[in-house]
């Protein structure tokens, strides 16, 4: 393992090399930076700026008027911001746990069965991810529909569970399941490929030692896929913070008083989805701004916690 510049360039030319490297880096990073600047940074800046205006359908998007922090005050004047914040954390934590644990479980199990069968199960688990969200959500809303309909009712009735309208009586269960079954495939994909990339010799050695499958998993597989697991944890946390689509398509934040409304759904409802078309762009932007700050804060904490510094370490080469 050695640093690039030590191999690539003699030390005496380091000063000029430094510039050359920066120029080359710019060449390679230019397109990505331009896209990021225009479609990530600029919108975030605009969102923050917009959150101090009163833009709404009733003003149009062109007549920017400063109203100071009024949108933020209005947000915290609502009786429900705490509920929504709490929902957000519950949603992220529970769905994340489901995604990672189930994803890991499916990955481990599917590599422990015959290759063909494993592949089949993985394909099945990828189905929710590759289905259009409206169709996938429709399947769940019909599965959870009110009696005498709803497949769930048909399944649980023999076990003495009273038929009910699941989306309304157990909204969190549905929210977690619908998101969990989509999200688990992400972890499964990453974990499976990571497991498959583990050199065979390691397993052979264990085989010779007569280790059990569980032992192999605990001693060899899991430690070796530590980074993918952390990557999935961090990446999925961020995804979940920003996601709302399946909640929107099933419980739509209800029933009643924001029972399953998350922060991003709140922002979406406010800025983009009002039954009577009264969209509050600036107010929604203030919510989005808070969401950006929350997402950033939590990612930074997680990156620190998991020592992601190592992942962004200086370039090096595996030999």
């Amino acid at each position: 393992m050695a640093r690039i510049e030590e191999i690539a360039l003699p030390r005496e030319r380091q000063a000029t090399a430094w510039w050359r490297f920066n120029a080359t880096a710019l060449l390679f990073l230019g397109p990505a930076m331009a896209l990021v600047l225009v479609f990530f940074i600029a919108p975030v800046v605009i969102t923050f700026v917009m959150s101090f205006t009163d833009l709404a359908t009733s003003t149009g998007l062109s007549n920017w008027q400063w109203i100071g922090p009024e949108n933020y005050q209005r947000m915290f004047r609502s009786q429900f911001w705490l509920t929504i914040l709490g929902n957000t954390f519950v949603y992220v934590a529970v769905v994340l746990a489901f995604n990672v644990i189930v994803g890991l479980g499916i990955a481990l199990l599917s590599v422990h069965v015959e290759a063909k069968a494993g592949g089949l199960f993985r394909s099945l688990w990828l189905l929710p991810r590759i289905s259009p969200s409206v169709v996938y959500a429709l399947m769940w809303t019909w599965a959870a529909a009110s009696p005498p309909f709803g497949m769930i009712n048909y399944v649980v009735e023999p076990f003495g569970v009273e038929p009910r309208y699941w989306i309304q009586s157990d909204p969190w269960l549905i929210v977690i399941l619908i998101n969990g079954f989509v999200g688990a495939s992400f972890g499964m994909l990453i974990f499976t490929s990571a497991i498959k990339a583990i050199p065979e010799d390691l397993f052979r050695a264990a085989q010779v030692d007569g280790a059990s499958a569980l032992h192999v998993i605990r001693r060899i597989t899991l430690p070796l896929i530590k980074w993918p697991i952390l990557f999935v944890l961090v990446y999925q946390t961020m995804s979940l913070f920003a996601s709302y689509e399946y909640i929107y398509l099933t419980t739509n934040g209800g029933p009643g008083l924001y029972a399953t409304e998350t922060w991003s759904l709140w922002a979406f409802h406010t800025a983009l989805s009002n039954y009577y078309g009264n969209l509050d762009f600036a107010y929604g932007a203030a919510m989005a701004a808070i969401l950006v700050l929350m997402g950033l804060g939590i990612s930074v904490v997680m990156l620190r916690l998991f020592r992601f510094g190592q992942l962004v370490a200086e370039p090096r080469v595996e030999v």
Binding site: A8, V102, A267
Partner: protein
Amino acid sequence: MATAVIARAPGRSRWPSLVPYAVLLLATVPILVLYLWLFYSSFFPRIEGFRPVGDFTIDNWRFLWDPQSVPQLRNRPPIIPLTINTFVFATMTSLISLLVSSMAGYAFSRLRFRGRRVFLGGVLLLHSFPSVTLLIALFVVLRFLGLYDKLVGVILVQTAFALPFGIWIMKGFFDNIPWDLEMSALVDGAGRLRTWWRIMLPLVKPGLLALGVLLFVEGWNQFLLPFVFMPSGSQQTLSTLVRGILGEGRFVDYGLLTAVGLYYIAPILVLFVLAQDQLMRIYAGGVKG
């Protein structure tokens, strides 16, 4: 292949081989049930619970051969052009994303430059920006650039959104390529760009394929961006069609919706079955991190 070894692991005797199958099957039941329902409800007038009402029919599929008789499809572009639009959109976004993220991934893996750590960390943080709630701001940007209601605008936005993941995955792949291969090319006097294109890209082909498949699927399924930023009828994609059929709930034809939904999933399903082996190499890079 590691799988084969694991499958033959000696633990077999102590861990009855049926157990993993049983657990997998049990966990997969909800998915199986949902998709079986989707499949057979496209062949019946309506379904109550598990029970089809009425006789088997292919009426729900008539959008394929007789779209004019489907009221929900009146005044919409026919399904084939929509499919082509969707294909173009998915292909373009995945190709551009691949290009841009493999360039950036290479830089992060191989080059040393000022601010590298910050940028690399920042790329991951970008993912925490709630793209969806930034839609209004994105609209302002697109309108400013004159790219609202233009295919290229939506493609660029989708490409940008795919970058954080793409860059990280590609960086992982480049990290795993032995340095000597590249060095010999550099020593021969080839420039960085040339080396990247001629030597490195072919070496990370599995990564490009895996990422490409994922990006294609994301493009294929993308609804919100084309829907909000490319509203013109002729440029619509299948996702906006599905949304349109869903209507306001009062006139929804679920049979039609499930049939169109299946039609929409089918190409992706085929792609996945064909590309599963490639896909399972998506994270080959980061393992030894």
